[in-house]
Symmetry: C2
């Protein structure tokens, strides 16, 4: 099957680019140094490729992602890097599951849910989950008293991912990680889990990096000079052409829009509607032409699609279900 | 089952509000005067409720929506109000399907795909699909020569939906519909299909109004003084609480973000991450509390969810699959 045979809109991954991204990351962060985050692609077939590159432990953002990874035989060491108040679906899985906790309530949920292992989630500057660093020790004590194994700490410096200057990124990551290391001294355990695609090679404090975006890459990372390339686009068909603009059949329900409009090479994107993209092409297009639409944010784009097509040049190699959607 | 029993994030529809919205619309636009647009809810169970209010003809935005409606026994008169280049999946359905066309290519696609009925889609001011009004007649001739039944015209004044002043909305809608009526004189047929929730009662030229948002309602319509109320929210759980903010378990993958951040009553929303909402509540919240998150745009929100819960007060009446997702 060829690219032209796909019904549109279709999520497409460039196989050689994906492979280069996976190989480059595995070179810099081999084996357990990387705990790939599956939220970025929500696809166990892609996780299997990451596993083939030597990474056996994975990061998940939702209970459904943990369940799906376990069902796909990738349950050797799954971290739900997120707080949950009802962990019962995790406790029954045939997999080794660790869950992030940052409060007595989430510790109680892990215990009640039968999840034996936790990381103490520490706030290192991003206004999101994580306890204050000074409180990590007492939460670890509480978790241990509750019969849980405390494997260490986790802290996501998400507010630093898109800093374009490498030195500033390095410096601020070190500051954030100093907070995490202090917490780690109080908590104990062998794991210091942190980082992401933007800090994968400047975060030297973490024992494992939770990068996910590197596989398919977001255009938002383009200013950082990272050695990963965008591998994912939405294939769309031009369904209508007017004098000053044309319309393709992808829109708000096939593209994550929180980072703004997608990009189309050789065209100005005017706006998206539910199922339409209105754009002004630099040179004429015809009804029936196919265009490649590059989403501004990969993760919420993938979450709209049931499957993705893995292509090389014009050839479809495989179709992979996006099987980790939902909650 | 009660609201508190739902796993979060969960899409929730307030049943009495939905019922009031459906009843009010059916009062003003009874029976065939309304052709409800299913793209707004992507749920055949909800379409069945609209059918119970007397509307037998429906509008769809995707082939999958047409297929799903046909499978649900709601195929009496389905309009795909969108251009497609491959109509073969439509031609095989056990339903009466009409498709919008605005070019020789889309007319050919209808013919090849075995769809016997078309509307000539006319651009009435929104930069999207639709032929120039002056070209509608020749396209209708071409369609008839191709053996297709031309049922009339369609033209969506989407650029006028959110004009807050009723008089301006009325005046500009009349101007847009003058274009459509001129095209209709050249095209013939009994159907003039147009309009939406914002113009449902000011568009007096259309023989049928394609409103969809009225059922669940977008907050964006709030300035218009329409008699429809928001009926849809995302139920989320507070998973982490800090001194200045709290975090709930819904985010970019459970909320359409093209209209910006969602709203939470009694709180300032700071930002959304993939699976998190960081917000500053006016009064303290606790880990485990449930909050109602009102999306800025309903349609792309619904498209992220597998199901919705229909509730009355705290009671879950039914769970409906969001079964018209995908393409």
């Amino acid at each position: 099957m060829r690219l032209g045979d796909l019904q549109t809109p279709a999520l497409v991954v460039d196989a050689p680019v994906l492979e280069r991204n996976l190989a480059e990351m595995a070179r810099v962060l081999p084996g357990p140094r990387l705990r790939p985050h599956v939220k970025a692609h929500k696809c166990t077939a892609l996780a299997l490729r990451q596993s083939a590159h030597g990474h056996a432990a994975f990061t998940c953002a939702t209970i459904r992602e943990v369940e799906g990874m376990a069902a796909a035989g990738l349950g050797e060491d799954l971290l739900l890097a997120n707080e949950v108040l009802d962990a019962r679906r995790l406790g029954v899985l045939d997999a080794q599951v660790t869950v992030a906790v940052d409060s007595p309530e989430t510790i109680a949920a892990a215990r009640v849910g039968g999840v034996g292992r936790v990381l103490i989630d520490v706030n290192v500057g991003l206004p999101r989950c994580g306890c204050p660093p000074a409180r990590a020790g007492e939460l670890a004590d509480l978790a241990r008293r509750s019969g849980l194994q405390v494997r260490g700490v986790m802290g996501y410096e998400g507010h630093l991912m898109l800093l374009e200057g490498r030195e500033e990124r390095e410096h601020k990551t070190a500051e954030a990680m100093a907070l995490l290391e202090a917490a780690h001294r109080d908590v104990g355990g062998e794991v210091v889990s942190a980082g992401g695609t933007g800090t994968y090679d400047v975060n030297v404090a973490a024992t494992e990096i939770q990068a996910g975006s590197y596989a398919l890459m977001d255009t938002a990372y383009q200013g950082l000079g990272l050695p990963f390339e965008p591998a994912l686009f939405v294939l769309a068909t031009v369904v209508s052409v007017s004098e000053k603009f044309a319309v393709a059949d992808c829109g708000l329900k096939s593209l994550g829009m929180d980072h703004g409009n997608p990009s189309v090479e050789g065209a100005q994107v005017w706006f998206c509607s539910d199922e339409h993209l209105t754009f002004a092409p630099d040179s004429p297009v015809r009804v029936g032409d196919r265009i490649r639409v590059w989403p501004a944010h990969v993760d919420p784009t993938v979450a709209y699609h049931e499957r993705l097509a893995l292509v090389q040049d014009d050839q479809i190699l495989e179709e992979w279900p996006v099987d980790l959607r939902g909650w």
